[in-house]
C-alpha cells in the first residue's frame, strides 16, 4: 500500500515531465550543433530552441538551463524535493572542500562555490568551517569536515583533504540513493560510487599510489569488491585491468585505455541506457529522476560542443565527446 501510494503521488508531476521531455535536445539537434560553423551559430540554434536569451553568454545560458531544471522540479515536488538530494550532494561536498581549503590557506577567491543545485547554502558552510563549528553542518558532513581540516592543517597535503571529502560525498550519495526507495536513484548512487572508484584506481595506477592511499580513497559499493579493486590497482595496470575485466565493468576497460574523456563518456552513456525505460513509465519518482539526469547530460553535451567550437576543435573530435541523448 505504501509503495502504491508513493507510486500514485507523482502522476501529475510525471504528466508534466512528459511534456517537458518533448523539449529535450535529441540526437539530430546535437548533430546540428556539432556541424554549426562556429560558437555563435550554435548559440543561435539553442536560443531558437528556447535556451537562454540572445544577450546571454554561453556560461550564463548553461547556468540558466540548470536553474530552470531545478525550478521545475521544485515546483513539481515542493514537499519532497529532498528525495533528489542524491544529485546535489556532489556540489555540497565540493563547496565544503573549497571552504576548508580557503580557510586553511587564508586565500580569498571569488566564484569557488557552486551556487545552484545545492542543499546547503555555501555561506553557511563557509561560516561553520571558519568558526571550526562543524556541528552547524549536517551530521553526515561533520566528521569528514573535521578530519579533512585537521589533515590539511597538519600535512598541508590538499590531496589527502580531497580524498576524505570525496569519499564522504560518495558515501552520502550512496546512502541517499538507497534511502529514497527508488530503484533508479539507488542504482545511480551505487553507480556513481563504483565509477568514481574505478577512476581513482585508474589515476592511482598512472601515478603509482600505494595500497594505503587506495584503502582511504575508495568508497564502498555493491557493484565492486573494493578490497580486491584496491589490491589489483596497487599491483599495476595489468592486474587492475584483469580485475575489472572479471567484473560487470569489463566494457569500460577499453575506454580507460583510450582516454579519461572516453571513459567519462562511456559512463554517461551507460547511465542514459539505464534511464531510457523511464520514457515509458507513467508512475513513481523514477521518470522525474531520469529527466534530471537527462537535462544534466544535455547541458554537459552542449557545454562540450560550445567549448569545442570556441577552441576550433574538429567536428569529429567534438562528436566523440558528446553524450548519448535521452530522447
Amino acid at each position: 500500500m505504501g509503495l502504491n501510494m508513493a507510486k500514485d503521488s507523482y502522476i501529475y508531476a510525471v504528466a508534466r515531465i512528459r511534456t517537458h521531455e518533448t523539449k529535450l535536445l535529441n540526437h539530430q539537434f546535437m548533430e546540428q550543433l556539432i556541424v554549426a560553423p562556429d560558437e555563435d551559430a550554435a548559440m543561435k540554434l539553442l536560443v531558437e530552441h528556447g535556451w537562454g536569451a540572445p544577450e546571454m553568454s554561453a556560461e550564463q545560458m548553461l547556468d540558466r538551463e540548470k536553474k530552470k531544471t531545478w525550478e521545475l522540479i521544485r515546483e513539481l515536488v515542493p514537499d519532497n524535493i529532498d528525495i533528489f538530494d542524491v544529485f546535489l550532494y556532489q556540489s555540497d561536498y565540493h563547496n565544503l572542500k573549497a571552504a576548508i581549503k580557503e580557510c586553511c590557506t587564508s586565500d580569498i577567491h571569488d566564484g569557488i562555490y557552486e551556487e545552484d543545485g545545492i542543499t546547503i547554502d555555501p555561506k553557511e558552510i563557509e561560516k561553520a568551517v571558519a568558526a571550526r563549528d562543524f556541528k552547524a553542518l549536517p551530521e553526515r558532513m561533520q566528521e569528514p569536515a573535521a578530519r579533512a581540516m585537521e589533515t590539511l592543517l597538519k600535512t598541508r597535503d590538499g590531496q589527502l583533504c580531497d580524498i576524505i571529502i570525496d569519499r564522504a560525498a560518495l558515501d552520502a550519495i550512496r546512502e541517499a540513493g538507497k534511502a529514497t526507495g527508488s530503484r533508479l536513484l539507488a542504482l545511480y548512487g551505487e553507480y556513481v560510487a563504483a565509477m568514481s572508484d574505478v577512476k581513482i584506481c585508474a589515476r592511482a595506477v598512472r601515478t603509482g599510489k600505494d595500497r594505503t592511499f587506495l584503502g582511504n580513497a575508495l568508497a564502498d559499493c555493491e557493484h565492486l569488491d573494493v578490497s580486491s579493486l584496491a589490491d589489483s590497482a596497487s599491483q599495476g595496470e595489468e592486474s587492475f585491468k584483469t580485475y575489472l575485466g572479471s567484473t560487470g565493468f569489463s566494457a569500460v576497460v577499453d575506454m580507460l585505455s583510450k582516454s579519461p574523456s572516453a571513459f567519462e563518456c562511456a559512463c554517461d552513456s551507460y547511465l542514459i541506457e539505464q534511464i531510457q525505460p523511464q520514457l515509458h513509465n507513467s508512475f513513481g519518482i523514477d521518470p522525474l529522476a531520469a529527466y534530471i539526469l537527462a537535462r544534466r547530460m544535455e547541458i554537459k553535451s552542449v557545454r562540450i560542443i560550445l567549448t569545442g567550437k570556441r577552441n576550433d576543435l574538429p567536428d569529429e573530435s567534438i562528436r566523440g565527446r558528446v553524450r548519448e541523448t535521452y530522447v
Binding site: D8, I11, Y12, A13, V14, A15, R16, R18, T19, H20, E21, T22, H280, S282, F283
Partner: protein, 160 residues
C-alpha cells in the same frame, strides 16, 4: 433477522455500487491528475485528455445500474420485499461480478488512461490510438455488467 434474504440482496446491491464506485473514483482521480499535468503545460489538449480521464468513470455507473435493478427487483423501491434466504443469497452472488470487476477494472483502466494521457501529451495526433488502450479494459467491465444483469433478471423468475 426474519428477512435475512432481503438483507443479503440489499448487501449485494450496496456492494455493487460501493466497490465499482470506489474503483471509478480512484481511477478518475488518477487520470485527472495526469490530465491536469498535461493541461498545465498545454491547455489546448484539454478536450482530448478529458475524454481519457472519464473512461475509468463508467464502472461506477455500471455499479449504480446493477444496484438500481436489484433494488427494484427486491421490492426496496416499492412492491413485495419478502425475499427468501436462498433468493437473497442468489441476488448477492449476482451482484458480485460487477462489484469486484468494477473495482479492479476501474483502477487498471486508470493506469492505462494515465499512460494514454502521457502519449497524447507527446503525440496529440495519436489520440485515437491512445484511447483504444484504456478502452480495451472496458470490455471486462461490460462482461461483468452483462453477467450481473442476466443473473438478476434470471433470479426473479425462479420460484424459490
Amino acid at each position: 433477522m426474519e428477512n435475512l434474504g432481503l438483507f443479503f440482496a440489499l448487501a449485494g446491491a450496496v456492494c455493487s455500487a460501493l466497490m465499482a464506485g470506489i474503483g471509478s473514483s480512484i481511477g478518475v482521480g488518477h487520470a485527472g491528475q495526469a490530465a491536469a499535468g498535461v493541461v498545465t503545460e498545454d491547455p489546448s489538449k484539454f478536450s482530448k485528455v478529458l475524454i481519457l480521464q472519464l473512461l475509468p468513470g463508467t464502472q461506477g455507473i455500471y455499479g449504480l445500474l446493477i444496484a438500481f435493478i436489484t433494488l427494484t427487483q427486491i421490492g426496496i423501491m416499492g412492491g413485495d420485499s419478502n425475499i427468501s434466504l436462498e433468493k437473497g443469497l442468489l441476488y448477492f452472488a449476482a451482484c458480485m461480478p460487477m462489484a469486484f470487476v468494477g473495482l479492479v477494472s476501474a483502477i487498471q483502466q486508470a493506469n492505462a488512461a494515465v499512460s494514454a494521457i502521457a502519449l497524447v501529451s507527446k503525440k496529440p495526433d495519436q489520440f485515437g490510438k491512445a484511447m483504444i488502450f484504456p478502452a480495451m479494459v472496458e470490455t471486462y467491465a461490460i462482461l461483468a455488467l452483462l453477467v450481473s444483469i442476466l443473473s438478476i433478471f434470471g433470479i426473479a423468475s425462479l420460484s424459490i
